[in-house]
Symmetry: C3
Subunit: 330 residues, 3 copies
């Protein structure tokens, strides 16, 4: 391994310093998928791709050396928290991990605006995960430093949706023309709601496959219909799997069902196994936001179409891109 | 932004290497406000001011690169823990966060001296927050590495008192000649006790405004009287606010009152609002150790006299100064 | 203090780049003491010794700059977790601390293989502590990145055993020819089991001193007998202490006894005090994996033979060595 020489403004062969679009994200908050148009998405994915190349080549670099991220998690999420921590560290920055807020100032009754205005004295950017919808926007209203929403209850989880879309772009080369099938719990999963909204900016066909009681909310279907997205609903996967380019699997949680029998009967119908996948194309991908609890059998893991672990890795690059962008360094 | 070149011993235009007073803090513990005389305070604030200039200019620098802080919190305190973490990271050092001691070795019955002697194998300096008075001194007795007291129960919280005083110095230029009014719970708040003791080294007038049952302890009043500090006690703010240079507000906690009605009647009398502040000078500051829970209305936040968020930021600089000093690098 | 210049591949006067044995640990897992032969141990201790020299000379250096450790603790262990964190930071690397797994994905039912395959997207090496025996091996089976076992229930804790042995080597110069006496709970302590196995690769005499109900398991005695290790069992320390070179003390836990009286009677017989130590040699060491709860009196701490705090420090060097080795940088 050769000694790494950190890139400087003038030397970097990869990072688009001087790009005019850069300025528009500097100091901005990342709160909702709705804030991005197609140009923005292409820009973000361009930076994320560069991050991927840099990580592959040299692992870590000093683009954000000296910058500090406050990783403010009001509810635990190992995956998302670790992903942001790694993203900041791979960019040479530091992290203040804050995982105990429920025991601390907050339990003394401190308001979110006060917590955020305190943390921005210590950090350059704040990532926030909170159980209440709208809390990231509330934090952003009071903070001078950029806020990145890492999930606010039933609200948004924009970085998840961005990484999902970046996975599709990276694995299949483009989005236009694809058939995306969403499977499982489409009612409560904020992940599929946000992804559907992002996809509506592209020319796609979306299939929704779910039990009757877990269908995609009608307002989202209406929203996408207005934008001209072709959508269809199904109870089983059989009919659509052969034509699917992206199969997005979600967890069907026992708690959503009134009686146990209904759950058991439905559960089996949405498990992805090598047998089920015999009907699928050779060139397609299976995604899952993880954690999975049986919806995809472990025998699938060696199938090259299984993209769910690579999806985690794409998440790293997208979060690196977002951190660099809001700190004016992308 | 220009590439940052870390300062070296001979180049730094800011940091007073070679200052003789430097040596007296190297390797020392920070346990109590009583350990500092007026010269020490001026030296600390001089370094803190330099830290502020460095952070403003370049954000982070490598003064403590390679040094490790063990951040040992026996009780959670997001604010103080994050402040020390940021202070160490802005100086280029690393942090071992230890927030789970209650679940761990300690719950297996390990003594504080053993825990500290273990951690000093891994770290260069230890910050300790502990619910029991005297525990920081106990830790320091056994440790070879510097111990910084980040609050030990009803005992001391010296870095809070230092940052409070640094806030006053930074905002108002000096301490001598000021009228400081302390408001709220003066009986149980270790913050106001420590600050009063520190102020006794300067020529100040102190007003204590509190409900009858939450008055400043008589032994502290006696201690300050002996040092010649002019002190007065009041039940309401009206009489003293117009002459106040520093209004230090604390929380009045419901739990301190025997009956709810008494609390409710008293509570309202100590809330700082824009209306209340009409009686205050133009050039004065309102401070609060935070978290606040209603003692200062949010409408106050845009008032330039509201110094409580800037106070958090001054805390960062003071803690940077202390870390650098005890590690021999200030 | 002079400015530190990080060593590069060709300049380092200390680190044996180019050593052929290096390659055999690159990318490997550290799961069990059984994976090391005597040559391996000597190599590891050689690297650990170099780490010690580097830390003593310059504190921290950039051998693993840009590398990221995921510190995955399913059960809390301040000591082990802090030790690995410090080891990584002293090598210039970064850490993702994961202490809340019990609240998080895992409580949503995620399997260990999935958690590990997620984390390896973010990190370069994973340290895992888990309550279930065999879990480190399970993690290693699925991970592409190196796994280091930091204790898996009643299973193994190989880095503890390695640091114990490195302590003996460092303090006494060699292992062959020594008399090692293990004292206390020899039945449940995985520490003494692993150490005994490691010692069996050397020419040593081992004494086991324990209450009847806490004797060394017969299968371990049989295993060592087959390798030709001279072993003896005792109920009291008196007979063997004068000839002991290494006294390895463990905790005798109250919970192991059926009646309280038996515990009380036995407990006192295994407490190391200055009086007890009058019978011991001048050149010998007392070790303990810590935390201790009364098995060694605090009056012993100033005795130069008390090696248990130095033992913690040796642990840092061994863990630095292991991290550097599996990442191909030793």
């Amino acid at each position: 391994m050769t000694t790494y020489v950190p890139p400087t403004r003038n030397q970097s062969p990869y990072l688009p310093f001087g790009d005019q679009r850069n300025a528009q994200f500097y100091g901005k908050d990342i709160l909702s998928v709705n804030q991005f148009n197609r140009d923005d998405l292409e820009y973000i994915f361009g930076v994320a791709k560069e991050m991927r190349e840099m990580v592959t080549r040299i692992g870590t670099f000093d683009l954000l050396k000296g910058k500090i991220l406050a990783n403010l998690f009001y509810e635990p999420s190992t995956r998302t928290s670790s992903s942001f921590t790694s993203a900041m560290e791979r960019l040479g920055g530091s992290v203040i991990p804050i995982n105990e807020v429920r025991y601390s100032s907050v339990s003394k009754g401190e308001s979110l605006p006060d917590t955020v205005r305190t943390l921005e004295c210590y950090a350059d950017v704040i990532v926030i995960r909170h159980p209440e919808s709208g809390s990231a926007a509330l934090a952003a209203k009071y903070a001078r430093k950029p806020i990145i929403n890492a999930g606010d209850g039933v609200g948004e989880h924009p970085t998840q949706a961005l990484l999902d879309l970046f996975t599709i772009v990276s694995e299949l080369g483009n989005v236009d023309g694809l058939t995306v099938t969403m499977l499982g719990d489409l009612k409560y999963g904020r992940t599929v709601h946000s992804l559907a909204r992002l996809l509506s900016q592209f020319i796609v066909k979306i299939n929704y496959v779910s039990p009757e009681i877990l269908r995609m909310p009608s307002e989202i279907i209406a929203e996408l219909k207005e934008k001209g997205v072709s959508q269809s609903e199904y109870n089983t996967l059989d009919a659509v799997l052969p034509k699917t380019d992206v199969l997005y699997v979600t967890r069907v949680q026992k708690e959503r069902f009134e009686n146990q029998e209904e759950y058991e009967s439905v559960k089996g119908a949405y498990v992805i196994t090598p047998e089920v996948m015999e009907q699928a194309k050779d060139k397609m991908i299976v995604m899952h936001p993880l954690p999975r609890v049986g919806e995809i059998s472990m025998e699938m893991d060696d199938d090259p179409r299984a993209a769910y672990f690579r999806q985690m890795e794409y998440g790293l690059y997208v979060r690196m891109a977002l951190l660099a962008m809001v700190l004016g360094k992308a």
